[in-house]
Structures are given as structure tokens and as C-alpha cells.
């Protein structure tokens, strides 16, 4: 277990003390509505426990903490100190993915209690409680006081914003102290990203509070929470399915690794280098992701090449070379059904084209070759040269870059080569090693100079 830095300990201690200070008045105040507090506590707790046992580890990574609509409903229904008290058990029971578990739980609980108290103050300030309406004096007829609706949204929104600000401020502070991130980067973008979800949580909390106060009471308040609960449940499922999907893509790559043992980790590294080139060229984030996937999957067609040929030591006959050169077409045929790959599919088909038109499979030249294919071609050759193959030893990065520059214009697009040279000059080359243990000479910065040969074919 990692030891927490003293700054983080102090921060957590402060937060816990603040939470106690927020919640303590409720214990002595005779006006605390204990049945409502108990019920809301139970609701927070129930939502957390239910989420834990149903999703079985499928929680959103990083834990969204408690189920916020319930906490916000407590803010709307209870005095600020009682709301802080009601938020505690949910935070303590929240599922936590990383260790240290109890420190994190305590932190979440303290954070939510402080945020609930602050939100409650904001709500009181705008005279929120009066807008909720409630059971009127009329005994059997319709409620005497109707919720004051367009206006009721204003204090609720303010409370949600206050809640969000306190939570994100504390999140940023703990990131800055515990993980030594600069405070500016820890906070940047946090409020903007999380504000709209908190507002939706606030609306759901408001619905719950209005129904709770109405003559229909608690039974009507529970259905108000249901859509949000289902939605967060579906979101967790979505995260899980996305992980499964990524595992499937990795399995495709691993299937290639099974056949061609010398290329272990090659696919991942080509993906990495392709993404570096794309970033240097200023491509948008989603396009960069497509480039990365194109790099990862570029050799998937090798599944169609007989294993004996891929593992053959020694020179290939012209016929054998022809069979291996079919792999871009095999790869394209395989992934053409995957809709989200889009442009990446043509990159897989054309990553062995050469700018002078002497490549395969179609002999395209210059601008005819898709941009992504030109990116992947450079990344592929770069990794082929800097890692050990059956036919050659790994070369140092500068030698490989010089070789790429020598072939720019004939084999490679000079713009892509320059982008790779610049990117590596700026960030260095830190290859990811995915497929563990093997003959991996992936970071040959200072290894023995290798004999200069023609640019690695990458095939």
C-alpha cells in the first residue's frame, strides 16, 4: 500500500473535521426530522449496496461516489446539517476500486457531507424549501399548496451547482496533494465537464423532493429516482461492454502474435507511433484514435498467411513473398464489417503502398494513398527497424530515423517522416511493451550499432 503524503493526510483530516462540524448541529437540534433523515440514509445506503451487488465489479472506474440524486433530494428536504448527516452513510458504503479502501471511503463521505451542507446553505439562501409545496391543510381534497414551479428550478439549480463546485474543488485538492499534480491541471476542465450531469442529478433530486412533500408521500418519491438509477446502471453496463469490446480487438491482435512470434508487441507499438505522428500533424482527437486503431490492426491480415511461412527462417522464395504480400487484402477483408473503424480500413489495405508507386497491393502513388495509410507505413517501418526480427537485429532510434529520412520521397511521405522525427525529438520514444516476457529489445536507445541495411520492410 502506498503511503499517503503528509499534505494529503492533513487535507483528509481537515475534510473530516469540516464534515463533523457540518453534521454535528443536526444531532443536538430538536428540529431535525429524524424519520426523514433515517429514510434518506437508508436510501443512499440501499442504492450503493444494490449497485455493488448487481454490477459485480462493473462500477464506473474512479467511482462516481454516492448516487447523487438521493443526496440532492436530502439537501432539498432537510436542513443543511441534517442533509450532511444523511450523506455520510452513502459515502462510507460507496464501492471503491483502488486501495486504500477505507481512507477513500472516509474521504468520499466527508466530501459529500461538506458538499451537501454547502448546497443546503445555497438552497436556503434562495428560499428553496418554500417552493416545494406540500401537504396542505385541506384534509381530503387536493393539496392546498402547489409547488411553485418555474421558480423552484432556480434554487435547485443553484444548490446543484454549489454541490458540484465543492465536490470538484475537493477532488482537485486531493489530486494535487496526494498525486502531486500541479493544482492548475488538476482543476482544469473539471467543473465544465461535470456541471451538466450534476444539474440533471439536481432535477431528479428536485422531482423526488416535490413528490416526497406532496400528499402522495414517499411511495411517489421512489419512482422519481428510478429513471436516474436505471440510467446509471446502464452506464455501468456500457463501460463494461466497451471494455469487453477493447478486449476483443486485443484478441484479434493476439491471434496474429500467436502465429508470428517475432512480432510480439509490434502492433501496439505501431499504433503508438502512428498516434504520435497524427498528433504531430494536428489531427483531431477522434481521428487520432482511428489512426491508433489502424496502427494496431494493420497486420491483422497475417492471420490469413500460413503460419509456416511467417515463422520461416531464411530467405523467402518469390512465390512465398507473393503469398505474404496478400496480407493487407486479407486484413481489409476481415475488418470491413466493423463499422466504427471507418478510415482505418483503407489504412489497413494500403499500408504497404509506396509513395513512388512501387508498393502493393494496388501500386498507388503519392496523394492516391490514403493519409492514414501513409502514417501507418512510416510507423510500421520505424518499429520494424527498432525491434529485433528473425532477419535483423534492432537498430538504435536515431539510425532508424536517419534511414526513414533517406527513404522519404521514394518509399514514405516526407511530411509523415518529418512528423515522426519531430515527435520523437520532442517526446522521445517510450514503446509500450504489451506482450511481456519475450525477446523484447524494444528500447534500443544505447544498444550496439546494427549494420545498416535497406529500410526494414515491416512485413
Amino acid at each position: 500500500m502506498r503511503v499517503l503524503p503528509p499534505g494529503a493526510r492533513a487535507l483528509i483530516l481537515c475534510a473530516v473535521l469540516a464534515a463533523c462540524a457540518c453534521a454535528a448541529p443536526a444531532l443536538t437540534d430538536p428540529g431535525t426530522p429524524w424519520p426523514a433523515v433515517a429514510l434518506l440514509c437508508a436510501l443512499c445506503l440501499g442504492c450503493e449496496l444494490l449497485a455493488d451487488c448487481r454490477l459485480l465489479g462493473g462500477r464506473v472506474p474512479g467511482g462516481t461516489g454516492a448516487f447523487f440524486p438521493v443526496v440532492l433530494a436530502a439537501v432539498f428536504l432537510l436542513p443543511p446539517s441534517a442533509a450532511a448527516l444523511a450523506a455520510l452513510p452513502g459515502g462510507l458504503a460507496a464501492g471503491v476500486a483502488q486501495r486504500p479502501v477505507w481512507v477513500r471511503r472516509t474521504w468520499h463521505a466527508a466530501q459529500q457531507a461538506c458538499a451537501a451542507w454547502a448546497a443546503g446553505q445555497a438552497y436556503r439562501l434562495l428560499d428553496g424549501p418554500a417552493t416545494l409545496g406540500g401537504a396542505g391543510s385541506g384534509a381530503a381534497g387536493y393539496p392546498g399548496r402547489v409547488a411553485d414551479f418555474p421558480y423552484a428550478v432556480v434554487p435547485a439549480g443553484a444548490a446543484a451547482v454549489a454541490f458540484c463546485l465543492v465536490i470538484t474543488a475537493l477532488d482537485g485538492a486531493v489530486l494535487a496533494t496526494a498525486e502531486h499534480r500541479p493544482a492548475v491541471t488538476a482543476w482544469r476542465g473539471l467543473p465544465a465537464r461535470s456541471l451538466s450531469p450534476y444539474c440533471v442529478h439536481g432535477l431528479a433530486g428536485l422531482m423526488t423532493a416535490v413528490m416526497w412533500r406532496s400528499p402522495y408521500g414517499v411511495p411517489a418519491a421512489l419512482p422519481a429516482l428510478l429513471p436516474m438509477y436505471i440510467s446509471s446502471w446502464v452506464f455501468a453496463q456500457y463501460t463494461r461492454e466497451r471494455t469487453a469490446h477493447q478486449a476483443t480487438i486485443r484478441a484479434l491482435v493476439q491471434a496474429v502474435d500467436i502465429k508470428d512470434r517475432y512480432t510480439r508487441g509490434h502492433s501496439e507499438r505501431v499504433g503508438q507511433a502512428s498516434a504520435m505522428i497524427a498528433r504531430e500533424l494536428g489531427m483531431a482527437d477522434d481521428r487520432m484514435e482511428v489512426v491508433r486503431i489502424a496502427g494496431i490492426l494493420h497486420d491483422v491480415g497475417k492471420l490469413g498467411v500460413p503460419t509456416r511461412l511467417l515463422r520461416k527462417d531464411g530467405p523467402l522464395t518469390p512465390e512465398e513473398r507473393k503469398v505474404i504480400e496478400l496480407h493487407p487484402e486479407y486484413g481489409h477483408e476481415m475488418v470491413r464489417g466493423i463499422g466504427f473503424l471507418g478510415e482505418a480500413r483503407s489504412a489497413i489495405l494500403h499500408h504497404h503502398e509506396r509513395v513512388d508507386g512501387s508498393g502493393y497491393p494496388y501500386g498507388l502513388a503519392g496523394e492516391q494513398i490514403p493519409v492514414l495509410a501513409r502514417v501507418v507505413a512510416v510507423a510500421d517501418s520505424f518499429d520494424a527497424m527498432t525491434s529485433t526480427r528473425s532477419y535483423s537485429r534492432a537498430r538504435p532510434v536515431p539510425v532508424a530515423l536517419a534511414e526513414l529520412e533517406r527513404c522519404a520521397g521514394a518509399q514514405f511521405d516526407p511530411a509523415m517522416v518529418r512528423a515522426l522525427v519531430d515527435a520523437i525529438g520532442r517526446h522521445g520514444w517510450h514503446p509500450v511493451v504489451t506482450s511481456d516476457d519475450d525477446v523484447q529489445v524494444a528500447a534500443p536507445r544505447s544498444s550496439a550499432p546494427a549494420p545498416a541495411r535497406g529500410a526494414g520492410s515491416g512485413a
Binding site: G144, P215, P227, R250, G337
Partner: protein, 433 residues
């Protein structure tokens, strides 16, 4: 018989619609503002409906030759608004007086207006979906409005928690009625047994259906205590739920596509004949549906059938013609075990890997899905994928001879039924994608 049931549902909806529109036009609308607000909500709900079919997700439904229950619930906001209007007893503290026929008229009019842009964009009008909505809403309204309007409900239950419990009960019944209607309509379309259709219909509400019912209930009660402003506020969480469901549908679609490509890898590697995995998957799903498997079991079956030959990728030398059926049992089992290992790495549910692993075991030791995959795969291997009729009959005969140990007799008979009904064309190669 099936067509008759579906026809009866449609005719009832049409008659009810005509009566409702006529009655409302003749007598005028009670509480026009409320009716208009709910009408707009339902119309917007229809507009916001997603056309799954035209997005990048044609594979999800059509690959299996039928649409799934969650796809058939395309307008959550519209459904919730319609339910809320049917259960509405008051607005901003004053009781309302609209009757059943007005509810139906408002729902139909709004739904039809909301459908127009979809038709304009060239998507077929989903009249079945409207018919189902009309009848389900009419059911809820018939159970609630007369009791409410005559004042007997308030006299008995008052305005309080008991009314909520009554409404929850009523929504449960409405969901049941809706499921029965859905099964009747789907029965005519797909020809599946009613039992498994009803099972699917009832399982589907566990997701978005529950959110729809809960929102409908809260909207009806919320309008009573907070006025019409409750409608926009209360629809936000449901829209969020709808969005989450869209995202998960999209990721499931790409997931299926990726698994299909993984299955295609064996064909490209020359391990199996072109289209073998997809044919086995389609035929297995047809058999599974005939046997009454649930949607979840069908998904597991489909993935397992797509991946059943994946173990051959680990072999240095391919099996002759990729046919595992004629291999000695021990060898087939070893390849199945290799396949299970690969499947485990792909992140598919664990059941899928188990099915892949056990596909070569004797049927008494297998899970149901593995029995189906085994029989269908053997059939595919034996008739050579060319679809010549003599081969098909001979292959079935071979399977029947193997029912003592290898193939479950029920599965083989089911396969024979599916083949006889659909002809070879019905289970032939699917369109790529």
C-alpha cells in the same frame, strides 16, 4: 391464426382511434391547455425517437432476422407522456375531467403528427407500434379515468400513498397487457412460439420499460401537485436514460461486428470455408429460437457459434477443409479447448467460452447452446456448404444416426423443422456487414 390475431389487434386499434377522434371532435376537448401540453410532449417524444435502423446499426436486428424488444420501444418519452395522460387525475391542484376517448384521441393525434417527419425522411411508418401504444394506453385509461371521474376512487383511496400503490398496480397490469399485444404482433411477423415471445416481452421492461412506467407515474402525480411545468422537468431524467440506452446499443453493435470479424479470421486463414461461421450462427439462432431460448441465451449462442472454430487459429497446420465434424473425438476436443482459451481472452461473457470449449463433448454433458452449436456445425460441415438438396437430407440422416451419443435428438429434430420451413434459402449466407 397468427395473422388473424395481429389483424384483430390492428383492427381494434383502428376502430378505437376512429371512435375516439369522432367523439372528441363532436364534444370538444376538456381542459384544452392540459391536453395540448401532453400532446406536445408525446409529439416531441415521437420526434426524438431514434431510427436505429438507419444508423450504423443495421446488423443488430436484421442479422438475426428479427427485431429485439428493446428496439421496438423506440420512443420512451412518447410512451411515458401517453401513460401519464391516461393516469392524470389533476393539474396544479384542480381535478381534471377528460375521459378515455379524449386520452386516446390526444395520444393518436400527437403520435401521428410526430411520425410525419420520420415518413418524410423515408422510414416506413411504424403503425404496429402506434397500434400497440393506443391499445395499452386505452387499457390504462379505462381502468383509471371512469373511477376517477365518477369520484369513487378518491372516496375509496383518497389523495395519498394508497392512490400511488393503486397506480403502480395499474401500471403493472398495463405493462402485462402491452407485452401480450407485442407478442401477438411479433408472432405474426416472426412465427416464433408465443411463449418465448411473451417471455422476451416481459423481460424487456426490466430496462427502459421500468423507467418509462416510473416516469409516467411521476409525471401524472407531479402534474397534479406542480402543474404543467412538471412535464419538461420530469422528462429530463428519462431523456438521459434514453441516451444511455442508445450508447449501449451502439457499443453492442460494434462489439458484434468485431466478433464477426474475429470469426471471419478463421475463414481468411483458410481454416474454414467462406461464410461458415456466419451460416452456423444464423442457423443456430434459428434453432435456438425454435427451442424457445431467451434473448440473452440467444446472444450467448450467437457469439459462441460465431467463434466455434476459433481454436483452429492456434494450429500450425490447418485441418483438412476446416471440417471438425469428421475428426477423431479427442482431436476435436483439443481444438475446442484451444478455442475456449482464445474466447476467454476476447472479453465475451464466460458462458460463451464454456460453450466453445464444450462443443465437442457428448451431448449429455453439454449446455444447451453447445448442443445446438455441435449439431448445426456438424450439419454445415457434412453438407459442404454448397446447399445441394441431396447433401442436406444425407447430412440430416447422418445426424439422426448420431443421436445416441453426439447429438441431442430434440435439437436435430428442431434443426430439421427449421430447415424444412425456411428452405435452404432462408438460412443461406447473410448480407455482409
Amino acid at each position: 391464426m397468427r395473422a388473424l390475431a395481429a389483424g384483430a389487434v390492428r383492427a381494434a386499434a383502428a376502430l378505437l382511434t376512429l371512435a375516439a377522434l369522432g367523439h372528441t371532435l363532436w364534444n370538444g376537448v376538456a381542459e384544452g391547455a392540459t391536453a395540448l401540453a401532453f400532446g406536445i410532449l408525446i409529439g416531441i417524444g415521437e420526434l426524438a425517437r431514434s431510427d436505429h435502423r438507419d444508423a450504423a446499426a443495421p446488423a443488430a436486428a436484421e442479422d438475426r432476422g428479427q427485431d429485439r424488444p428493446q428496439d421496438r420501444r423506440p420512443a420512451p418519452l412518447g410512451s411515458a407522456g401517453a401513460l401519464a395522460y391516461a393516469l392524470l387525475g389533476g393539474a396544479a391542484g384542480h381535478p381534471t375531467h377528460h375521459g378515455v376517448l379524449q386520452v386516446v384521441a390526444v395520444v393518436v393525434a400527437a403520435a401521428l403528427v410526430g411520425i410525419v417527419p420520420h415518413i418524410a425522411r423515408g422510414h416506413g411508418p411504424a403503425f404496429d407500434h402506434v397500434a400497440r401504444r393506443v391499445l395499452a394506453v386505452a387499457f390504462a385509461a379505462v381502468c383509471f379515468q371512469p373511477l376517477h371521474n365518477s369520484g369513487r376512487l378518491e372516496a375509496r383511496l383518497g389523495q395519498g400513498p394508497y392512490l400511488v400503490l393503486f397506480l403502480v398496480l395499474l401500471l403493472g397490469l398495463t405493462a402485462l397487457c402491452d407485452a401480450v399485444l407485442g407478442a401477438a404482433l411479433a408472432g405474426a411477423r416472426t412465427g416464433r412460439p408465443y411463449g418465448s415471445l411473451l417471455h422476451d416481452e416481459l423481460r424487456a421492461p426490466a430496462g427502459i420499460g421500468t423507467a418509462i412506467c416510473a416516469t409516467g407515474l411521476v409525471m401524472a402525480l407531479g402534474t397534479a401537485v406542480a402543474g404543467l411545468w412538471a412535464l419538461p422537468v420530469f422528462s429530463v431524467p428519462l431523456l438521459l436514460t434514453q441516451m444511455s440506452f442508445h450508447r449501449i446499443t451502439a457499443v453492442r453493435t460494434t462489439y458484434r461486428q468485431t466478433i464477426t470479424s474475429l470469426a471471419r479470421a478463421t475463414e481468411i486463414a483458410g481454416c474454414t470455408r467462406p461464410g461458415h461461421a456466419r451460416r452456423v450462427a444464423a442457423l443456430s439462432c434459428a434453432v435456438g429460437r425454435e427451442l424457445g431460448l431467451s434473448e440473452r441465451e440467444l446472444t450467448v449462442l450467437e457469439y459462441a457459434a460465431l467463434m466455434h472454430d476459433i481454436g483452429q487459429l492456434s494450429l500450425v497446420d490447418p485441418v483438412p477443409a476446416g471440417a471438425t465434424a469428421p475428426l477423431p473425438a479427442a482431436e476435436a476436443r483439443r481444438i475446442a479447448g484451444l478455442g475456449g482459451e482464445v474466447a476467454r481472452q476476447t472479453g465475451v461473457p464466460a458462458e460463451v467460452a464454456v460453450v466453445v470449449e464444450r462443443q465437442a463433448d457428448p451431448y449429455r454433458e453439454q449446455p444447451v447452446a453447445a448442443r445446438i452449436v455441435r449439431a448445426v456445425n456438424a450439419y454445415e460441415d457434412l453438407c459442404g456448404g454448397q446447399g445441394h438438396p441431396g447433401g442436406s437430407l444425407a447430412a440430416l440422416e447422418r445426424l439422426r444416426l448420431g443421436t445416441g451419443r453426439d447429438f441431442q435428438p430434440e435439437v436435430v429434430e428442431c434443426l430439421a423443422r427449421v430447415l424444412a420451413r425456411d428452405g435452404r434459402a432462408g438460412v443461406g449466407p447473410l448480407p455482409p456487414g
